[in-house]
Symmetry: C2
Subunit: 147 residues, 2 copies
DNA sequence: TCTATTGTAGATCTCTAATATCCATTATAG
DNA sequence: CTATAATGGATATTAGAGATCTACAATAGA
């Protein structure tokens, strides 16, 4: 289990945009060159970020990308969600439909909708998400502001 | 990004073993049937758990698996590490060898070995790991003891 | 208006890791 | 001995990530 390379590229591209002057578009070419990735591939990633309202894109001559909001309004969690999707890290094996009596005590206890295995795994994910939500693109620019 | 199905099977198999009487081996057949997975596949997973000292295996007639330690000594984190491997969730894009001046402020500041992007991503992973370390197979059996 | 520039979207290809199965071998209880 | 059961290696299958190409749409500036 690892974060995809796309997530890494997205985060780095956003930092790049955040470090440039405001109101100044950066094209896919310098961005791709700087990150060491192809323009075609990075443009897919940037499109996703645009569709989710994280960056603005301007087509045509002297176009390019810029942040759609200030860097401190873009959390790591949101970027990761856009690129990786929003499914849970842990997927229940049988959709909570337990037939085995051994597991019924764990899964169905007092009609809970989340079994104890899921409670642990989802709890762990939540811990990570809270941290990722507390840190923004601005956090890595102001070296002091990492939570 | 998701936990592999193997990790789910491993956790569920361990809970199964923990719920059975002590000193009583459980074979791969009932285990696989109960989890709804093939014997061949599950046996690979069990072998990994054995190599890491989480379960004991007995070959031959009336053999099978049992926990190698008490259930409260088997953390979620350890099981996940055995099955998923121990690489970090976030992999640095260029092995910290930065040429682009825009990133040098973030990556190389005061000769740190971990850049600020990595600091956030690894920090997030650590949050999750601490939670997974605090919860054991016993936690899901004693419904009250989830951290 | 014309043209060069630049992002968009769809199709498609490759590559890797996860998933899954099969079989020959080893070990052990009875 | 023999039936049983785990092991390790080889191998097949699949899904998703990674990557590229091309036709198209939009825009700035000549
Ligand atoms: S024990 Fe929980 S996570 Fe596992 S299959 Fe049942 S409901 Fe799903
Ligand atoms: S900014 Fe940090 S994570 Fe990104 S490539 Fe540089 S050293 Fe690696």
């Amino acid at each position: 289990m690892q974060f995809s390379k796309s997530t890494g590229y997205a985060l780095h591209a956003l930092i790049h945009l955040a470090l440039s002057e405001r109101g100044h578009n950066i094209g896919i070419k310098p961005l791709a060159t700087s990150l060491g990735v192809s323009e075609s591939y990075l443009s897919k990633i940037m499109s996703k970020l645009r569709q989710d309202g994280i960056v603005r894109a301007v087509t045509g001559a002297s176009g390019g990308y810029e942040l759609a909001r200030s860097a401190d309004q873009i959390t790591f969690l949101e970027v990761i969600h856009v690129i990786e999707g929003r499914q849970q890290l842990f997927e229940c094996l049988n959709g909570n439909a337990h037939l085995q009596k051994e597991f019924s005590a764990i899964a169905d206890l007092s009609g809970r909708k989340e079994c104890l295995v899921q409670k642990v795994m989802n709890g762990a994910e939540l811990q990570m998400q809270q941290y990722l939500q507390a840190n923004t693109i601005q956090s890595v620019i102001d070296s002091g502001s990492i939570e």
